[in-house]
Symmetry: C2
Subunit: 342 residues, 2 copies
């Protein structure tokens, strides 16, 4: 079926090595020979067999990306950015879904399937700090997410605490004092929820505003329905608040919907702030003010770091922690002080 180096060599009347040289454009080849070989390649429609090349070189030209769930916008956007960055580097991406399940994550880390790739970008969600050791494998790995820190691997992530603190400060600066939270994880310290809640508390404390857990709503997963449910809980409790901080955009959008159903005006009665900087946050009604934690930078940096590790596997160097810059995307659901003044 497909032609091989031998076929090309035979047709061009040269040896297999010469053909190989042409393909990998080895510098010293007589132009005439080169032309003859190229002609033969064209005639046969020859393409090198990548599997054979992989076996020989130990490189596949593919990387793996593991995320909890592609259908979650955050991970879809992450995957899109990773694939784009990889494509620019001439590398393809194999995408795995773990469902955010610890066992499946651990299983993936030991999976022989990973041999089909040169390295892994791993967005952990189910695993916790105690599982850090499982990340130590003789295989290029870049960790994303905020479930595990100080593991012996490169880690690209966002400034959760600082970004959540900035978001809360923004709400405080706009005059809000009773800021409810949707999406807290019971007792969590590390992890997106725990860290963001910490940033929230730090901002309150710095401003001298008391922390009140009656306006903190907890949920396990971060789908839109959870944001809606969380807000319903808050309303049912009969507590008062003048702002809501959704620990991610999806939650904030769900919460905003319930607010509006209840006849509460956004932002006049209650301001809403999200976290993630999703595309769709621009198109809700009202559009969602959110903190963009630098996801595209994270994707690009993860790919660059992984490829770097793959290239120089020998001179490993210390594992690095790389943190993205964040910024607040001010929109309608939570205008800044200035806008209110206007």
């Amino acid at each position: 079926m497909a032609s091989t180096l031998h076929d090309v060599a035979r047709l061009a009347g040269v040896s297999i090595k010469t053909v190989s040289n042409v393909i990998n454009d080895y510098p010293h080849i007589r132009p005439a020979t080169k032309a003859r070989v190229e002609q033969a390649i064209a005639d046969l429609g020859y393409t090198p067999n990548l599997t054979a090349r992989s076996l020989r070189s130990g490189r596949t030209g593919a990387i793996a990306l593991a995320v909890p769930e592609l259908a979650l916008s955050y991970f879809a956007e992450l995957a899109a950015a990773v694939i784009e960055a990889a494509d620019e580097a001439g590398v393809v991406v194999l995408v795995e879904q773990t469902g955010g399940d610890r066992d499946r994550e651990l299983e993936l880390l030991r999976s022989p399937r990973l041999q089909m790739t040169d390295g892994l970008i791993f967005s952990a969600l189910g695993m916790g700090q105690d599982d850090a050791e499982h990340l130590e494998r003789p295989y290029p790995l870049v960790l994303l997410g905020e479930r595990i820190f100080d593991a012996p691997v490169d880690h690209v992530t966002m400034r959760n605490v600082e970004a959540a603190r900035a978001a809360t400060e923004y709400l405080l600066a706009s005059g809000r004092r009773r800021i409810a939270v949707v999406g807290a994880h019971p007792g969590e310290v590390i992890g997106s929820a725990g860290l963001r809640l910490r940033g929230y508390r730090e901002a309150l404390e710095a401003a001298g505003v008391p922390y009140d857990d009656s306006i903190i709503s907890e949920t396990t997963t971060w789908h839109r329905s959870n944001g809606a449910r969380g807000m319903r809980d808050l309303l049912d409790r009969g507590v008062t608040f003048d702002a809501v901080f959704g620990l991610n955009d999806t939650l904030a959008l769900g919460a905003m919907r319930v607010l509006q159903e209840a006849g509460i005006r956004v932002p006049e009665d209650v301001a809403v702030m999200g976290f993630d900087g999703l595309d769709e946050a621009q198109y809700s009604i009202p559009s969602l003010t959110t903190v963009d934690p630098g996801q595209r930078w994270i994707a690009r940096t993860a790919v660059a770091t992984l490829l770097e590790r793959i290239r120089r596997t020998d001179a490993a160097g210390e594992p690095r922690l790389l943190l993205a810059d964040f910024h607040i995307a001010e929109r309608e659901s939570a205008p800044s002080e200035a806008m209110i003044g206007a």
Copy 2:
């Protein structure tokens, strides 16, 4: 580094063939031998080298999925479903993004990278009917989408015309007569926009409602902002309508936002209908009535069909056209007749 069959064979004191037999659980092995080999495998932490296996067998255990853009919810959900189905079959998925660009789609079809996979699920968007011939390749391929029909490949897709017709009939049945459309593609006959518009026209005609192109808004791409812009156009034209059919959910959501900004009540003044059955359509305010064209079925069927082709590449059989069932997901933005009566 990694141990090989030879290492295992040496440790177990058997030949390499015996080890291979154990791994591929060949039936007739003496239990004692088998146990000894398994012990050696465990001791060495041996895992078979998949690249070598691929070279030998000609199979990679991976398939490719090409979509325009993962950040579009529709394709993210499609990819999630494809990966899940593939995973159940023990196959991994390499995801490529084409940007919906014809040249990149054609390039992908000839890409040597595809050798790293056993087959391709190809969601074409930029290519048109005239490019059908390019799909005829000596490589298992399943086509998705509605840009190309009657190509010599398996094609899994939705009933665009019928589903759009049903959506329109639903609006007509609920008493709407002036149904605007957002997202039409100028002059398109085949393709999602063209086919869905045809279904729309068929329904109007059957009901004796005149088609009026002053309430048809055109757009090239199908992002949320296009839906918003389309609706603004309609409002600027000063035309009247009592319903909007967004040719996909994203457009419908964008359009709905603009309606509400303009103080037009949904569904009281204008009903809104989408197309795609996206998860997020459940969480908008109001929730979006939409037609679910059977995307999950499409994903599962595409994977099953592709694996089937890969398995029996010899007895090819005729290319098949597989069409998903659709249904209308009735929600708040467009209540049915019955609901209005209630």
